[in-house]
Structure formats: C-alpha cells, structure tokens
C-alpha cells in the first residue's frame, strides 16, 4: 500500500477535554484510501524536546468533508504542541502506516463484533466501527474511562452501533474497568477488537482466550521511523520479533507471547 509524505491543512482543532483534542486535517485533492487500525506519523514543529515524529491512530475519515481525524491525548511536549495547532496551520504526515483490523467478509451481518477501547485507545475504534457499520454490521462498543468527562466522541459512536461504557468512579455507565462490564457475561461474541492501556488489553486478551473468541489488539510500542526501517518498535511474538509499525499495529492474540 502506497505511503504518502504530505502536508495537510488543519481544518479545525477542537478541545474536547482539558487533555484531549480532535485534530481535523484536509487537503485539496481526495485523501488516499485508509483502513481502520492504521496510523500516521506526524511531524511536530517548534517543539525542541520533540525530535521524532509522533505516531497517532487514524480516528475517523470523513469522505464527504475530505477530512482525516486524529484524537490526541496530551501527555508530553509533542502532543501539547499538536493541541495548539490552529485552523489553517500546515502539518506534515507520513501515512497511512501499518496493517489494519481484519474484517469478516461475511453474508452474516448478525455477527457479534465487540470493540473495546480504553482511554485514547478508543481512537481507532471509531474508524473501525464506522467501517463495520458501512459494511452492514452492527458493532457493539465497550468504552472505558476514568470519569464521565473522559468518555469522548460518544455521539459519533452511537451513530455506528450500540455503546456500553464503564467509568472508574461510576459517574457514567457501569463502575469499574471495561473488563468487569456485565455485557462480557454473554460470552457469545464472534470477534473482539481492542486498543488501550496495556493492563486493559491484557485483561481483554485473557477474557478472549478463556472463552475462545478470536481477538485482535492494536499495539502502541514506541517508534522511531514508523515505516519498518529501524526495527525499534518490535513486539516479541511466536514468530519472533515483528515490527509493530509494519506488521502491526494490529496483532492477533494467537501470536502474542504476553505472560497472562
């Protein structure tokens, strides 16, 4: 799949929350094809502490407005600089990168597809959900956050499927972690997709393995090049070290060697 090195224009940068922003990017010509799970490597200008590009998942692609969305959690200098971008600013991207979530090519549109996202790990789940909906599926989202104001883009998720939530303080949805949610008692899912903090993904993998559901995780190993050239981002798998930026970020849990 062809990768592009391009300048895109910021069409808006919305502060969804004190620590999160939604960056919408566009260009004059139609954006290239992108798949859920893929990410971009964005260059951060005017941030002396930020030498390398920053990997950010593709949050959503709005084909009508020709916009690429990035949901960014502010954790350090690089992401803070990105949160300060203004409409009309130019950003340089290498994209689309990495593989993508596997999607059933099935006539059976009743398949139960569960998408579990925690924290900023909900970002790729929105794009995946939108794609599944377009294909005729009715995805089930299970989204977790610390508190209700951290649950972002809920109105968007609701457009594409059923939404269940958990918060650690019980301010919205069920109280606790996503992996404690009562919906998981049903155990009749055909596929689970997940992205979020490592401890959360470990619990999800544990759950999926116990009841034998096929499951894919999206990894966030630190990266330098993002294009498979430096071998810095490796994950140890049953096939040896794989580059998360190229052979991932989406990995089937059968391949993982996590100690669970």
């Amino acid at each position: 799949m062809k990768k592009y090195l391009t300048d895109l224009v910021v069409s808006s940068n919305e502060r969804l929350h004190p620590n999160y922003c939604l960056l919408r990017l566009t260009q004059n010509v139609p954006l290239p094809e992108m798949f859920p799970g893929q990410f971009v490597e964005i260059k951060v200008e005017n941030s002396p502490a930020t030498f390398l590009r920053r990997p950010i998942s593709i949050n959503y692609v709005d084909r009508i407005k020709n916009e690429l969305w990035l949901l960014i959690q502010i954790v350090g200098d690089g992401t803070r600089k990105l949160s300060e971008l203004k409409e009309g600013d130019i950003v340089n991207l290498i994209y689309p990168l990495g593989n993508s979530f596997s999607i059933f090519d099935s006539q059976d549109k009743d398949k139960k597809l569960l998408l579990i996202g925690g924290g900023v790990g909900t970002a790729p789940m929105l794009f995946l959900g939108s794609k599944l909906k377009t294909l005729g599926y009715s995805p089930i989202f299970l989204l977790g956050a610390r508190t209700s104001s951290d649950l972002l883009q809920l109105e968007m998720f609701l457009q594409f499927g059923t939404v269940y939530t958990t918060t650690e303080d019980g301010s919205q949805g069920e109280k606790g972690y996503v992996t404690n949610h009562s919906i998981l008692k049903k155990r009749d899912f055909d596929m689970i997709y997940t992205c979020g903090p490592k401890p959360m993904m470990v619990s999800v993998v544990n759950y999926a393995k116990q009841i034998g559901i096929s499951c894919e995780v999206s990894l966030e190993n630190t990266m330098a090049c993002g294009i498979g050239a430096c071998l810095c981002c490796v994950e140890n798998t049953i096939e040896g070290h794989i580059c998360v930026c190229k052979e991932g970020p989406v990995v089937n849990i059968q391949k993982l060697t996590w100690q669970i």
Binding site: L5, K43, F51, L52, A229, V234, H241
Partner: protein, 304 residues
C-alpha cells in the same frame, strides 16, 4: 550543475550522499517517497552470518535532538539476504552496500565471502563498531590490534571495495583508522553511535532493555565532525563522514572537514526524503561558490 561524482576506492558514486546502515532498511521502505536511485549509495541493514533476533523491546529512547537505539543487529542472516532481499534490490541503480557484522572473526569472514559473490553488491562496510551486541561488534573496533586482525582477515576473502566503520567510543580514533588502513581497508566510515544511556526517573528504571544504547542524530554532529577532521588528516584512504547530518549544510561541513562522501542516518526518520534534498543542496552550494566539482571541496577547510 557542478560535477558531483566522487570515488571511494574503486567505487564510483554519482554523488557523495548515501544513507546509513540500520536507518534506511533495504532502501525499498523509502521508494514511495522518492526515487532512491538518485542518491550515491545505500548501506543496507547490518547483516550477520546467522539469523539474529536482536535485543528485547524497548530498544529506543528519544533524547534532545537525537535518539538512543539498542536494536542489536536484528536480521535474518546472510543466506536470507541473498535468497530473498538481494533479488529485490540488485537492480536499483545506485551502489547497494552491505553492512557486515559478526561476533567472531570467522563470522565476519564467512559473511564477507558470501557477499563477495554477489555481482551487484560493489562494496561492504565492515561494522566493527556496534555498541549493542554482547560479543564482537564494538569490541573489535576499540582496539587497534583486533581491528587490524579482522580487517586483514576479511581483506583476504573480499575482493571489492572494503569500507570499515569505526567506533567513536575510543580515546583516539585516528590510531584505529591507521591500523585498519594498514590492514587493507579501502576506506573508513565514521562515526557509528556513541554509547549512551537513558533513565526513567518516575519508574527508577533504565528505558532500554539493554540499559545502554547507541546515541545518534543531530546531537552527535560536533563529535562526528571533529573525528572526521582528525581522521582525514591521519589516513590516505577516503573517509566517509556521518553522524547527525540533517541538511545540506551539515554535509558540506563534513566534506570541508575531509570527508569524500557522507551518510545520513537518523534524520531519514524525520524526513524520509532528506538524502535527495541534501544532494540538491550540495549542488546549489557548489554553483553558488563556483566550484566545478565537489572533489574541489574535500578537506579544504581553512584553519589558519
């Protein structure tokens, strides 16, 4: 348009700009972004006689204006290179150079012998300077005698251009350069990464799985430039300069300090097209200063 050709031993480069081993994959990773045959050469990933899994993750730590890596020569071995990679890269119209590494002299010899048989690989770069492996690697390159031994041994079996990559983690790099020159090297390239370390204060733990790693990027440029300048005065064979180059001006500085050609490493991650931009920038500089050939610029630094 000035003449950008330079020679490294018998190797002819269409221009002095090449990409550094371990930072440019096999070149193919960059072909979506520009015509990679426009640069003078591509040093492919470190290759060893046997498959190596490399070090455990985490292998990378960002630093001010640079990064530490501890990849540890992950590669599928020279036989895989020959059967699976070589066919894909052999027709790229530039010098494809294999970076050869090993844990023992026998490994280096065996790997170099196999690469010698590949008609479209005109040169090897002997990596005696990798700081990220427990055995061999940098251990060869930080001692004059062992550096000379491994170079002399490879020289016997390798009949094309032999470049030796030097470690900056030494007291006097010119001594090592001179010993590999007398052992038969056709050129030296420098620098490999500087041994460094990163700590996560919150977790009170090292960031890299190997604790220490190799520092590269713009932060190492002044050290690299100094070493290239010293080495170019100390040896008669051509010097290939690298370490922190991120624009055409950096490249010109290395050439003025005595480098016949340069390599770009870490900066490929920031701008995958940087190497071809540096080619254009060198050309503009030569025109602007009325130099007919880039060769006229090599080592002409005025130090009085």
């Amino acid at each position: 348009m000035a003449n950008l050709n330079v020679n490294i031993g018998n190797l002819q480069l269409k221009n002095p700009v090449m990409t550094a081993s371990g930072t440019f994959g096999y070149g193919l990773e960059f072909s979506d972004f520009f015509d990679i045959s426009k640069i003078g050469g591509i040093f492919v990933k470190g290759t060893t006689i046997h498959h190596r899994e490399g070090n455990f993750y985490p292998r990378m730590a960002e630093t001010p204006s640079g990064m530490l890596n501890a990849v540890g020569l992950q590669n599928k071995g020279v036989d895989y290179f020959i059967s699976d990679i070589y066919p894909q890269i052999k027709d790229i119209d530039t010098n494809m150079i294999v970076n050869v590494s090993g844990s023992t002299i026998e490994d280096y010899i065996a790997c170099a012998e196999k690469v010698n048989d590949l008609p479209q690989i005109p040169a090897i770069e002997l990596n005696i300077s990798c700081p990220n492996v427990k055995k061999g690697g940098m251990a060869f390159g930080t001692n004059c005698q062992s550096a000379a031994e491994v170079v002399a041994a490879v020289r016997k079996v390798y009949h094309k251009t032999l470049i030796v990559k030097l470690s900056p983690n030494v007291t006097d790099i010119t001594e090592i350069a001179r010993s590999v020159e007398s052992a038969g090297a056709d050129a030296v390239s420098l620098i490999n990464t500087l041994l460094g370390m990163a700590i996560d204060a919150e977790k009170r733990k090292p960031i890299l799985s190997t604790i220490t790693g190799g520092l590269s990027g713009p932060c190492v440029k002044p050290v690299a430039l100094r070493m290239v300048w010293q080495t170019a005065k100390a040896v008669k064979i051509p010097v290939i300069g690298l370490g922190g180059i991120s624009n055409w001006k950096d490249a010109i500085e290395f050439i003025l300090a005595g480098a016949t050609a340069i390599q770009i490493g870490t900066y490929n991650f920031i701008d995958p097209t940087i190497s071809v931009k540096v080619v254009d920038g060198i050309n503009e500089y030569l025109d602007r200063h009325s130099f007919a050939s880039v060769k006229d610029l090599i080592g002409v630094l005025e130090c009085n």
